[in-house]
Amino acid sequence: EAGVTQSPTHLIKTRGQQATLRCSPISGHTSVYWYQQALGLGLQFLLWYDEGEERNRGNFPPRFSGRQFPNYSSELNVNALELEDSALYLCASSTGTVRRNTIYFGEGSWLTVV
């Protein structure tokens, strides 16, 4: 069974540009979560999608947005990139109906803003 897959693995953008990161959840999972891990910091919660709807949002500015598609895959968009957006972006998925000890992470997408 395939795990959570994320693309691209690495992405380099210049300040002011937009970045799009993609995530495919484990088959059968309906919930997708996005986290940011900046250098030296923990996992900061960004967004939670379930059944195509945004269920919760972390303390990030509106230029961080995303969506979930009918096949439950998701994308994270970061507009007007700033240098401090450079981080590892982790996607996770779960069935959405059970306690989230079943949350499974992908390997992440490294975003570098120069």
């Binding site: 923990g42 996992l43 303390n59 996770a92 306690r99 989230r100 000890n101 499974y104 992440g108």
Partner: protein
């Protein structure tokens, strides 16, 4: 706002000894707590969890203790093995919100 705190960024122990990783939280709405382990270049993997109705949960070499009155939990690894060397994240969960600590890097020396 840092609702989940891991105040020790790193911990070094000798192989065979006990590793104790600590975590504090501030939000009393959290009712489920988890530990994740992360190796370099990999996503975090679930390790062990505990519900707020319990004060201890054990799984092999790993035991998690919860002290609700102190809003504190800890992960004990006994005996520690070199393969346990990784970054450990504490997480606290309500139904619609899971928050992580900053992580503790554990190094187990042979």
């Amino acid at each position: 706002d840092q609702q989940v705190k891991q105040n020790s960024p790193s911990l070094s122990v000798q192989e065979g000894r006990i590793s104790i990783l600590n975590c504090d939280y501030t939000n009393s709405m959290f009712d489920y707590f988890l530990w994740y382990k992360k190796y370099p270049a990999e996503g975090p993997t679930f390790l062990i969890s505990i519900s707020s109705i319990k004060d201890k949960n054990e799984d092999g070499r790993f035991t998690v203790f919860l002290n609700k009155s102190a809003k504190h939990l800890s992960l004990h690894i006994v005996p520690s093995q070199p393969g346990d060397s990784a970054v450990y994240f504490c997480a606290a969960d309500t139904y619609n919100d899971m928050r992580f600590g900053a992580g503790t890097r554990l190094t187990v020396k042979p």
